[in-house]
């Protein structure tokens, strides 16, 4: 049977999916070698003062329940495999938010022997949140920008993980 669905029906379905993703993104957090500065600011973002949950964001413990991987740290060699494994366990569509200078480029730990230098050395990153550490306001801004981009653009197809493990 040839499933040629009518375009309007498909569009509507896509809109509903986007609405659900944008209004209730579930996060998983991973520390790939960070000093914890960014991690405690992420936790503070979920605490009463900044309250990320009012945006529909929920922090989950399992990658299988999450849409967005919020990642800190300059990616140490030991953490790399675990980071990849978590990413693989997430279902499509999935997004990665790199939080803090270390996650962007390695930060002060660039060129350290055990550090790969930035999340985008390993995974495709959708949003970068700078700061050392990134302030809760910046983290919220980053998440909001990511969600806004989902509304404005269709969800991109996930890139194939390349043979050398680099997500680009």
């Amino acid at each position: 049977m040839n499933l040629q669905l009518d375009k309007p029906w498909q569009d509507a379905l896509e809109q509903v999916k986007t609405w659900a993703r944008v209004n209730s993104p579930w996060l998983i957090h991973f520390n790939s070698g960070s000093c914890n500065g960014c991690d405690i600011e992420i936790l503070a973002t979920l605490a009463p003062r900044y309250d990320l949950e009012r945006l529909g964001v929920k922090l989950k413990g399992s990658p299988r329940h999450a849409d967005v991987l919020v990642c800190t740290g300059p990616v140490t060699r030991q953490a790399r495999d675990r980071l990849l494994r978590i990413y693989e366990q997430m279902h499509e569509p999935k997004f990665v938010v790199a939080v803090g200078s270390c996650a962007l480029s390695g930060g002060v730990f660039q060129d350290c022997y055990n550090v790969l230098g930035g999340i985008d050395q390993v995974l495709p990153v959708s949003a970068y949140v700078p700061g050392c550490p990134a302030r809760p306001e910046a983290i919220i801004d980053g998440v909001v920008k990511l969600l806004t981009s989902l509304v404005e653009k269709p969800v991109p197809a996930a890139p194939e993980p390349s043979a050398d493990g680099r997500g680009r």
Partner: protein, 395 residues
Amino acid sequence: MNTTQQAERFTIPIGPQHPALKEPGHFALTVDGEIVTSASVRLGYVHRGIEKAVEERTWVQNLYLLERVCGICSHIHATAYCLGVEQLAGVTAPPRAQAIREVVAELERIHSHMLWFGVAAHEAGFDTLFMYSWRDRETVMNLLEGLTGNRVNYSANVLGGVKFDIDSAQADAILSGLDFLEKRTHHYLDVVSTDLVFLRRTRGIGVMTRQQAEVLGAVGPTARASGVERDIRVEAPYAGYSEYPVSIVMDTTGDLEARFEVRIKELFESYRVIRRILRDTLPPGDLTTRVPRRIKENETVIRVEAPRGELFYFMKSNGTDMPERIRVRTPTICNMTSVIRLTVGHQLADVPMILVGIDPCFSCNDRTAVIQDSCGNRQHWTWEKLRQYGIEFYR
């Protein structure tokens, strides 16, 4: 083969992804039924190679690197480093700077203990307490931001002194913030010592005797809760602590409840000493003294009291503008040995609380633990599962 006659043992690797603690670690626990029979830790997830990196950066650059060993205790690392460089160079920062260093260090201790308290409450399943304590912690974050310009990684220190002064408006803001925090801290002390549900998870759990604490090399509040008198601020005062001393806070029971109470009571000491410094008015004078770019050949040892315990720096200079060697020994590694021993003989459900009781800072130490099952049975548990297990067990 009669399987009921064989003790069933499970290996439960936990981590390295911690929903609660936000720090990677891999603990392996071997359990015989409910009881932990052996435990070990595997670290390495946060190992960044800092001791090597410092040899390739100048003395000034290293200040910014060493501040980021740990986001929770960044100021104390920077203070230890600056005191070390000043000692190597044979200079002393002015008294006003030392007093300001002490004020920021105690504010950091407050934020760190409140952070820990919230995380510990979360481990116990007491999320309301976690949210309240982190809301109250925002008060001290505001004070730190108002004083230093940043909520975390305050960068208060420069080689030879501090970057900023405390004026009377800031002092007033700090004092009124402390009044609020003190009221809330009384409430938390009350909860910790009287809430029956909480006490079931802490009283009599994870007992470490004084002798064990000494033999296992415990430091900080973990040691003080077992009656070991170790507090660098008291036994070897540094920065402003000779002028503005603190009293040592101790307990003798050595269980988790004692560790909670010691940390909360230390908060009162922090409030007291900050008030004293700000009300007595700071010593007059400069904020910095000159430190040469090249430090003559020398060696020194610096010990300071981080929120988690003794922080030990050994520093060696070689006449150039880069260090020869800096050894950073952080407190959690000392306490980690003790916690591994303590889990043995306890129930699996107690493991999250015992671990959190030492206030582990993985980025200071980066360790993981793994447990081996003698029958080769392995179960993969996430930390979240172990935490939930503990909560359900005590329900």
